[in-house]
Symmetry: C2
Subunit: 321 residues, 2 copies
């Protein structure tokens, strides 16, 4: 019998590279746009008594199938444990055999960054020179990694209420032109990535420049929003998945309050990547509302599994008898 | 950080024991009957192109949480790969941390057997002396293991169209009074377990004895049935879960054809175990319609994780960074 490969976080960190992830995530959105993926809605296991929840995220893309099982426990950091932890089971779609079991935590960060990168590639002005990061944590880091792969950035302006995070970014990427900035300065950049967990908007319409592209990443649950709703009204809004975005993405609050309509969503990113819908026109504002799709995880898992196999990274087991 | 324990099929087979599984599965049904479990409906990923499907089965029981990810590929045996393969991720409900990743294939067989055992314990006549097995594969084996733990069996009559399977059972359990029999003889026993994948019924009403208890195990998908529908009409029908049973259990075909009503379901096994609903009355026929619940998997996974930890079975990894 075939063996199952176990990839721990330390294995993943050896082989994960944003360039690879950008490539497979772009292809995942393309397949999605072509209707060639299968992705049932996330299934939640909500444990109110434990102040946490789990999400089962299965997906199929041509040649790969699998599931991410991710937990979100906002009180974990007090115990020295990450809020978000994830495992991915990667299966052979021809037999169901579990080819790999891997840590999905860093994969989640990378594939989310890559989603933002793909959105910026297709929606931001090609000559975008400044990147604004609002929030400077794990998600900001992978947005930075993805966008800086794709654009020649002259200035990266970072705002966070946690100043040490900004310093950490500067130390980690000494070659990038990272500067601490006021929130209105970061928001005025050509490309803006918002990655905060706020529930009342912190980015005002008046700060946004003509022709800007915004990746709205932070809102991932009902009640969360980062952008003043008039930004959505004035922008071309592209979502990763209509059902997920209306349920828990940046637009969910504005929709509930009647400030934005589902029918005002311009396109899915898949439709933009395949060219079914055109991207930006001139100096309009574009917003990508990212909630994170299981196809991004499975596409990344497949790529990492193949890389690990080729380099014999991780451990092989006869998990199935 | 805590480590994650990996339990392969060979580890599981070292420590799994039907007596333990019976105990924790009975408790799982009790917790279910008390409304203390959380179990969203199974989520299907159906890959028609590959003639297979996956099911995500998350569950919470007091003190444990997790998910089974199980694939069903009916054409696999032609390739020398099992039809059903499963992985279980067992999590700490207080933090979401994945405490263990384990093969779930044998666990699925055992917890299904234990479900039948618990049903027979509460629904069969306590002096039941004969067991009839209709079908003699993996599922029949664990029904046999469970029922023979709980009853003093004088005779075990087995019918299968695969005669070698019956011989294998005899060789594996030389101390049990196993005999090959005609289907009508097996069906006439005090306790009858049907474990075949048929889509047209093969067990006739006229064969069933007064006071018999039937575990209907084989039907696990829409369109499958093993029992002549008049058996359901004449019996007290107990299900594991009303939604799952009406969707894909033994009763699904009879309901679709108008031969049985959802309202005719007498109780869930949880209600029987907690005593909310009474069990059998005198010599009536009882039927347990088993579809398999995620709480059975997670309860068994928790027990095996603790046993493995105590005996240091399996491998520990820093899977999460």
């Amino acid at each position: 019998m075939v063996k199952t490969r176990l990839l721990a976080a330390s294995d993943i960190s050896k082989i994960i590279d944003m360039r690879d992830v950008l490539e497979v995530v772009e292809d995942a959105f393309r397949q999605y746009g072509l209707g060639k993926t299968i992705m049932p809605p996330k299934l939640y296991l909500i444990l109110d008594k434990h102040s946490g929840d789990f999400r089962a995220m299965p997906a199929y893309i041509e040649g790969s199938a699998g599931l991410k099982w991710v937990s979100v426990y906002p009180n974990n950091p007090k115990k020295g444990i990450p809020t978000v932890m994830a495992m991915i089971i990667y299966n052979d779609p021809d037999t169901g055999f579990p080819l790999a079991i891997m840590d999905g935590t860093e994969i989640t960060n990378y594939r989310t960054g890559a989603g933002g990168g793909v959105a910026a590639k297709y929606l931001a002005r090609p000559n975008s020179k400044t990147l604004g990061l609002i929030g400077a944590g794990r998600q900001a880091k992978t947005q930075l990694l993805a966008v800086s792969q794709l654009f020649k950035l002259e200035s990266i302006l970072v705002w966070s209420h946690v100043k040490e995070e900004i310093e950490k970014l500067k130390i980690e990427y000494p070659d990038l032109p990272i500067k601490s900035a006021r929130i209105e300065e970061a928001a005025a950049c050509d490309i803006v990535c918002t990655t905060t967990p706020v529930r009342g908007f912190i980015v005002k319409r008046e700060w946004i420049s003509k022709g800007a592209h915004i990746n709205a990443i932070g809102a991932d649950a009902p009640g969360k929003q980062e952008l003043e709703p008039t930004i959505l009204r004035d922008a071309k809004v592209v979502v990763d998945d209509v059902a997920q975005a209306t349920h828990s993405g940046e637009i969910n609050v504005a929709i509930k309050r009647g400030l934005f309509k589902k029918s005002e969503i311009y396109a899915t990113l898949g439709e933009i990547v395949t060219g079914t819908k055109k991207g930006r026109v001139a100096d309009e504002i574009t917003v990508f509302d990212s909630t994170g799709l299981a196809i991004q995880d499975i596409a990344t898992a497949k790529m990492l599994f193949e890389k690990a196999k080729a380099q014999d990274i991780g451990h092989e087991f006869n998990v199935i008898g």
